[in-house]
């Protein structure tokens, strides 16, 4: 009797929190199918009374496509660069130490904790002097830099976990260092690499602060910043719901597909980072 009671309490707690965590998603999704009239109706109906798709059609107008393309291009190039550079550097920190490499590693560990606010002003001045403000490249580069330290730690851990004998036998077989890294070590570190790719995808896709500072022209903005400009404009509510729904889908789908990897990778990474 007593035990039965506690089990019910546990499930009530979990069900309530699930409602709290999922409501915003469902609300945005439902609103994206409602007409303007229905959204502004008082009292409102949570569920759409009739499902319409005009909100999704109207995405094609306005700046939405620009924002979307910017987000996609910045994220894809950023993730690729982070994946390549962090697996190179991670391998070197794990297996090719040189004088001073340890100091660099410690420095990387320290910068992870600092808020981006500390870097923003020099970033802005640097990009302004190079003409990189309001360009996609101008957002790709700092995103890569900020994502690298954490990714390097994950890749380093992945390479450390591979037995040394494998590398040694590859070298006896006449593989050069680069070949060993590319042909033998990198495929074996693929779990780390997948974590890095997923993790940097989330971070760059959702990045707001640097984009807010470095992209002030609408045409150069990614979704995270561009959509916030429209939040106050009443007419956009339905369309905005549709865009937000679409923008949240990629990370959610990836999370559901790679859940185990994400959870393990993130908790592992935060232990080491």
């Amino acid at each position: 009797m007593k035990k039965w009671f506690w089990v019910v309490v546990l499930y009530v707690v979990l069900a309530t929190s699930t409602v709290f965590f999922l409501t915003p998603f469902i609300y945005a999704l439902f609103n994206s199918f409602k007409s303007e009239n229905e959204i502004f109706q008082v009292p409102q109906s949570f569920f759409p009374r009739e499902i319409i798709f005009t909100n999704y059609e109207s995405i094609l107008e306005g700046h939405f496509i620009d924002y979307f393309m910017n987000s996609v291009l910045i994220t894809v190039s950023g993730v690729l660069l982070i994946a390549i550079l962090s697996s190179l550097a991670g391998y070197a920190f794990a297996r090719l130490p040189f004088k001073g490499s340890h100091i660099i590693l410690v420095a990387l560990l320290l910068v992870i904790t600092l808020p981006i606010a500390v870097f923003l002003i020099p970033m802005y001045l640097l990009e302004d002097s190079l003409g990189l403000l309001n360009t996609r490249l101008g957002l790709i580069l700092p995103n890569v830099a900020v994502g690298l330290p954490f990714s390097i730690f994950i890749m380093r851990a992945a390479f450390i976990g591979i037995p040394k004998e494998i590398e040694e036998s590859a070298q006896i077989d006449g593989c050069g260092i680069f070949q060993t890294w590319w042909r033998i070590m990198l495929p074996m570190a693929r779990n780390g690499l997948i974590t890095v790719i997923i993790f940097s995808f989330y971070v760059i896709w959702g990045e707001y602060t640097m984009a807010k500072v470095l992209a002030t022209d609408q045409i150069a903005m990614p979704l995270t910043v561009g959509l916030t400009l429209l939040k106050g404009e009443a007419w956009a509510l339905g369309t905005l719901s549709a865009v937000i729904t679409l923008s949240m889908l990629p990370p959610i789908i990836i999370f559901i597909l790679f859940q185990k990897q994400v959870v393990e990778g993130l908790s592992q990474g935060s232990i080491k980072g």
């Binding site: 089990v7 707690v13 979990l14 965590f21 999922l22 409501t23 915003p24 959204i39 409102q44 190179l88 550097a89 070197a92 920190f93 297996r95 090719l96 130490p97 040189f98 004088k99 490499s101 910068v111 600092l114 808020p115 981006i116 606010a117 500390v118 870097f119 923003l120 002003i121 020099p122 001045l125 640097l126 700092p142 900020v146 390097i152 260092i177 890294w181 989330y202 896709w205 959702g206 707001y208 500072v213 979704l223 995270t224 959509l227 916030t228 939040k231 509510l237 937000i244 923008s247 949240m248 990370p251 959610i252 990836i254 999370f255 559901i256 859940q259 994400v262 993130l266 908790s267 232990i271």
Partner: protein
Amino acid sequence: MEQVKKRKKSMSLQRQKRLYGILFILPAFIFVFAFMFYPIMYSAFMSLQDYNYVTDASPSFVGFENYKNAFQDPTFRVSMKNTLIYSSIYFISVMVISLFLALTLFNVKKFNAFFRTSIFIPIVVPLSLASIVFTWILQENIGLLNYFLGDILGLEQLTRGWLTEGKTAMGSIIGVGLWATIGFVTILFLGGLQSISPDILEAAEVDGATGWKKIFYVILPNLREAYILTGIWAIIQALKVFVEPMVMTHGGPGTSTLVMYQEIYFTAFTRFEMGYASAMAYILGIITLVFSLINFHINRSREDI
């Protein structure tokens, strides 16, 4: 002779490895140097200058004047106070609620994966977009929360403009911060719970520690590592709060949700006082660093006892 040759060969391999080590790290280092290491140093230099990017031709040295001014600046002080309020409430709430949820999940088998997924999902979506959705939910006339409180629960007296009143605006921003991050902290705590050896739990039960006693005397003291991990993460997360007030309230109403990060942003990128803003950013950076170290130290010294 043979040995000497071998040593020579391994020497050159060693040298080659060092060379490749440098080559492999170099590209990543250039990125991190240009956008992080160099900015840290440049910010330090800039924080000692008086420099308006729009009106001044070049920076002029003013020593620690910017730091002194920052601590006397009423707006910056308000933003410090707000950041402190946000951080302390956020920190305590996120630790307590996440630990509580982790303990709950730890004791539940059916639908466990579903609950875990739904609690965790907020951290993977862009926070600025979630903040937009929350702005609607909290809106006075068409918002979902007021609809739920007023029309469904019949608690008309509780409905209000959540983001247009100072106190509830701060509360709302804390709520969104919690919404976005509780899942992550819960997963970390869950990892801690799962790493407690079953022997300890069994031994405790044999000794008669069950229910609450087991939780308070056996489980909670065994989560030390999880406390360090989540503690540092939560503090850093709290101090750098920026997106929610930017998107949801713009620091308002008045200055009631203006946080340090925002004041740095406004000083640097709407008033273009680069020197002054750099000093403010350094103050925030140092506070972040100090809190991380304190937390680390407390948990470490506890371990020694």
